[in-house]
């Protein structure tokens, strides 16, 4: 295939993915908007006003970056896992497998589809947060970079889940039992400096902590961890996950007998 043909195949997959999540917007875009609005009202306004300052900011200002990041992570992941597993389940993935589209384009297309949904929801949540607090960007470059890298990483995670899943139950196990706890314990609602030393150490093993804090640094300029270290770690995991996904695709895991 020529470069132009690669591009057409790539944009076709992305176009199809964006069509999918916008067609079912009531399942994909509306729920996070409602959930995050409730977080802003309950945790930010009602409870937050009694908590006082955290890291030198109001509690609402403190939790907004974490909640935006939580939306991006959850939606990037769930878009790819449901779309790719759905394609496996309905066998429509065969449309791509019989075509000359190379596996790296298939993977990139699905991942970018997940990123598109993650960023769309992230944007919606950001706009909603403006009804509750003012946001001042400390570092636009880092904010965009970390949200993009996080979205890519979790879209790849969703892809791995979709390849190993054997039923629709399997695509909800990881988000429910791993992703959500790690996100809640990843410093979305609190600064880890509030924790005893032992639990601070345990928290440092949580990869989501690094992403949430780096994003918070981009917006507020404060972070519990080193930003450069966090970005390097995310970049490393992106390369590792992309390689893993491509290897699984080439072997035909879950898609070829």
């Amino acid at each position: 295939m020529s470069v132009q043909e690669y591009w057409i195949a790539f944009t076709t997959i992305i176009h199809k993915e964006i069509n999918r999540f916008t067609r079912i917007w009531a399942q994909t875009l509306l729920p996070p908007a409602i959930t995050m609005t409730l977080y802003f009202v309950i945790f930010g306004n009602l409870i937050g006003s009694r908590i006082g300052e955290m890291g030198g900011f109001t509690y609402m200002q403190f939790i907004v970056p974490g909640l935006i990041m939580m939306s991006v992570i959850t939606n990037s992941y769930s878009n790819v896992v449901s779309s790719f597993y759905g394609a496996r389940f309905q066998k429509s993935i065969e449309e791509l497998l019989v075509s000359p589209t190379p596996n790296w384009i298939i993977l990139s297309g699905f991942v970018l589809g997940g990123v598109a949904r993650g960023l769309t929801v992230g944007f919606i949540v950001t706009v909603l947060s403006l009804f509750f607090t003012d946001l001042h960007l400390h570092n636009l470059g880092i904010t965009i970079l970390v949200v993009l890298m996080t979205s890519i990483l979790f879209a790849l995670g969703g892809f791995v889940n979709a390849m190993f899943a054997r039923s629709f139950d399997d695509i909800s196990i990881v988000p429910t039992f791993i992703l959500t706890p790690l996100t809640y314990l990843g410093g979305v609602f609190y600064s880890i400096s509030l924790l005893p030393d032992f639990w601070q150490g345990v928290s440092m093993l949580n990869p989501i902590l690094y992403m949430v804090n780096t994003f918070r640094y981009g917006i507020l300029g404060v972070s519990d961890i080193d930003v450069v270290y966090a970005l390097s770690a995310v970049a490393f995991f992106i390369v590792a996950m992309f390689t893993l996904c491509l290897t699984l695709l080439n072997k035909g895991k879950g898609i070829r007998s």
């Binding site: 043909e5 195949a9 944009t11 309905q90 065969e94 449309e95 497998l97 019989v98 000359p100 589209t101």
Partner: protein, 334 residues
């Protein structure tokens, strides 16, 4: 280059399979090292009972199944060396519906064009052309799940043709399709075989279809090719043929025809068993002599079907005998 009809592989066989073997993870041997050639422009039937290895073979050719051993070339391009190029020659209509049921009909075809790198405007023109030819243009904005079974089959044909493949694989495309629709589908497929020169490989359980459409045939059973020849040559191997004859006269017993076995079916029809080398003229001459006039006549069952059953039974007996022999050897050595 988006056209599959390039000069690549002009002299090569449309499909060439050598020593193809497939062993599934559970140890089941689906293919035992088959060889198969399909000439360019052919209308080829691949027949076999359920589980014989047809879909596995076609799955390997279309990259949906990983092979264990052997080689496959499509128009001279080895799938191990350049599968991407080989796939350009190939269009696949699978046995089961394999599209997103919630997508619009036109979007399914358009996306497939995109996967082959066909520019959007050209893809739109081709989508319109094929959906019109297959009678689906009015349904273009409907979700695929709203289509009838026959329409879904035609949608898969339109999708498989969007990149104008040189080799079209049809895996039981008329299963569950009514007679009228089946005939119109065959007219369409015959047309692209005749006018575009597209090579067709067909699997079907309707053997009369294979007999009327295909020039060459391979019969596969238990992972082995048991016959690979022309339909004509195969039918010449038929040893026995049974004809049912209808008469306006009322019969109490089947007419006695010397040299032929006859049997009364009801008071107005009887069957005649003919061996190879015997002629219908002899039958009619003797019936005339005894004053029985024939108003209509038909074969009892499809001729290819009889041969198919015969060949598969022979193959099974051969396998059973080989298995018994092997068991006996094991007992002796034990």
């Amino acid at each position: 280059m988006t056209e599959a009809h390039s000069s690549q592989g002009q002299s090569a066989k449309a499909l060439s399979i050598r020593g193809l073997k497939k062993v599934y993870a559970n140890g089941f041997v689906a293919l035992k090292g088959i060889d198969l050639d399909v000439e360019q422009g052919d209308f080829f039937a691949l027949l076999g009972p359920n589980g014989a290895g047809k879909s596995t073979t076609l799955g390997i050719v279309s990259s949906l199944v990983n092979k264990s051993e052997g080689s496959v070339s499509i128009f001279g391009v080895d799938i191990d060396k350049d599968f991407s190029k080989a796939k350009r020659f190939l269009g696949v209509v699978p046995q089961e519906f394999n599209f997103n049921q919630f997508e619009k009909v036109k979007d399914i075809v358009l996306s497939q064009a995109g996967y082959y790198g066909i520019p959007r405007e050209e893809a739109k023109a081709r989508t319109e052309q094929f959906l019109k030819e297959l009678g689906l243009w009015d349904k273009r904005d409907n979700a695929a799940r709203m289509l009838s079974g026959g329409m879904k089959r035609r949608l898969m044909i339109a999708r498989a043709l969007i990149h104008k493949p040189r080799l079209l694989i049809l895996d039981e495309p008329t299963a569950g399709v009514d007679i009228e629709l089946r005939r119109s589908m065959w007219e369409f497929i015959k047309k692209i075989n005749r006018e575009e020169g597209t090579t067709i490989i067909l699997t079907t359980h309707y053997l009369e279809e294979a007999e009327s459409l295909c020039r060459n045939i391979a019969i596969i059973d238990q992972g082995e090719i048991v016959k690979n020849t022309t339909i004509k040559a195969l039918l010449q191997q038929l040893n026995t043929e049974v004809f049912i004859m209808d008469t306006s006269e009322t019969l109490t017993q089947a007419p006695q025809i010397e040299g032929f076995e006859t049997q009364l079916l009801d008071e107005h029809s009887f069957e005649v068993v003919m061996q190879r080398g015997q002629h219908l003229n002899e039958v009619f001459a003797q019936l005339n002599a005894v004053g029985v006039s024939i108003s209509s006549m038909r074969t009892k069952s499809n001729r290819l079907e009889e041969l198919f059953v015969e060949l598969v039974e022979q193959d099974r007996k051969k396998h059973d005998a080989a298995n018994k022999e092997s068991d006996q050897k094991d007992k002796v050595s034990a």
